[in-house]
Amino acid sequence: MQALDILLTASFWVAAIRIASPLIFATMGELICERAGVLNLGIEGVMTVGAFAGWFTVYSGGDLWTGVAVAAVSGALFGLLHALLTVPLGLSQHVVGIGITLLATSLTYFTYRLVLPEVTSPPKIEPFAPLPIPGLSQIPILGEALFSQTPLTYLAFASVAVVAWVLYRTPLGLAMRAAGENPSAVEAQGISVSGIRIGAVMAGSALMAVGGAFLTMSAFNSFFFEMINGRGWICIALVVFGSWRPGKALIGAILFAAFDAYQVRLQQLTGGVVPYQIFLMMPYVLSILALVLVARRATYPRALMIPYQKGER
């Protein structure tokens, strides 16, 4: 009974939305890349870069929104590198993506050690504070969960709306979707497939980096090693689970985060009878299960992972 009561507490849903926020950013980022035809396995590393860049900007005296901007730009730069290698050069998106993750992660750790050589406990910053929306945050449970979050969480939800609007309501979005389905049709319209794909990977990587920055600037207040902890890979699973649609991916991310918040509370409830590692495994197991669940009806963008060369069919 106690286990079900958890679901009716506002604090549980507040936590679920908080856990969902970085996943929403990064899932939207990956979704843009994949809709344009590029699998971005650099996500885990780009999130690490964003987490560090945002935090370090604030730590060195910048304000919080400058930190978010710096994170986004650093993410976009790694996205540019990824895109240059995979789009015009057409190199394996698997190999380049893993390479970008290794490079971004190691460069971050190198820089961290360089600028903070002697610290034993990671220094803290003043993170984003919750900004309750007057009125709406008074609605029991649901209102509290959605409207007493930090500004960065609101930005995460806004990013879903923007991505959905651009993808489905603008010519740019049409070109992006076509670049992932039928690139020669895009070229026939006189639009550059390479340009669309490079832009999508840069924008997507910027979103991933902001997702990383959420962890150091909103969820927590410092940077530590291995803090992304597989969240990037989970987001790749969420994109598949959400059938490459922003709305469905958002629901997937919230469901996933709710499970995650639930297991933490269940862990406290069971009081050490079940090894804690079992609970920590749940997010990863859940991601695999989600992939298996949708496997039969998953329709990948048809040109995903297929490099495009002008004038080739």
């Binding site: 050069l89 190999v95 190198f110 090894p275 495994m281 991601s287 992939l291």
Partner: protein, 349 residues
Amino acid sequence: MRLEPKPAQSLAATLLYPVGAIVVTLGFAALLVLAAGADPLSVFTLVARGAAGSQFALLETLTRATPLIFTGLAVAVAFRAKLWNIGAEAQLYIGGVATVVLGTGLLPWPSWLLLPIIAVAAMLAGALLLLGPALLKTRLGVDEVVTTLLLNFIVLLFVSMLLEGVLKDPTGLGWPQSRKVIEAAQLPRIIQGKRLHYGFVLAIVSAVAVWIIMKKTALGYEMRAVGHNPEAARFAGIPVNRVLMKTALLSGGLAALAGFSEVAGLKGNLTLDLSPGYGYSGIVVAMLAMLNPLGVVAAAIFVAGIFVGADAMSRSAGVPSYIADVMVATALLTMVVAILLSRFRVRWR
């Protein structure tokens, strides 16, 4: 811009690009060293000396190369068939688990019997671990990149659970570590008093065996055909899914041997820091070797040298040792570009 295939070239012209890749990597590393306020030339000298400047350094590099040869082979085999096994890290740990389960006194047998049995058991464990993602790929079309990546996290937590539970060393002062393997389950040292062990020999033998499989057997041919073009392979009557299964078993088994060799040859017990990312570095090793099994040995020694050399350099020059990881990742990216440029000509317009 577009890419056009190049006609066959002289060996010198082919080697030009990989050499260029190394130069670019060193150039980038030099910038980072400058950023750290040190002199690149003296830092590189310290790295080289730390990796190969003495008998001790050289043996240390070969010791570090041993697990990288195994994981590099695992990745090379899988990638050749375009089975994207990014889970060598998990397979390595499962190999380590099998080694301490059987090697800490459960089987009181002599070395000549015990060691091969443990090695085979470790391989089986790693093979079975990769079989799951491979089955999900062939049966349901679930992308194996994501499943193998996620399994790395699951397996590490599983190992942590074992080390705080059934496999915990009662005399370990509360540390999450297993008991030491018995003497009969230890791979002997090659030179008395040095750390280099017979796991290195096993790694070389494995590389040759994998080379023979890839170049001289029907399976190797089928794997390459599947990797080159699965539809064409299927059309030619090759049982693509069966070949992918065999590839998965071989790849998972090879990665698990890294765990076996580290536990039985070097560490003696299983801990959560058995591997500082050997599974991921194996990807770099395999790519630097252009997926050639014999090349994997050379690439693993090269990568191990960078890590060992950077550790030594970091102690004396004060440049963070993470520069090794940066160099290895940069080498991966520059090398794939170099391989492309050696085969294709870039035409602007």
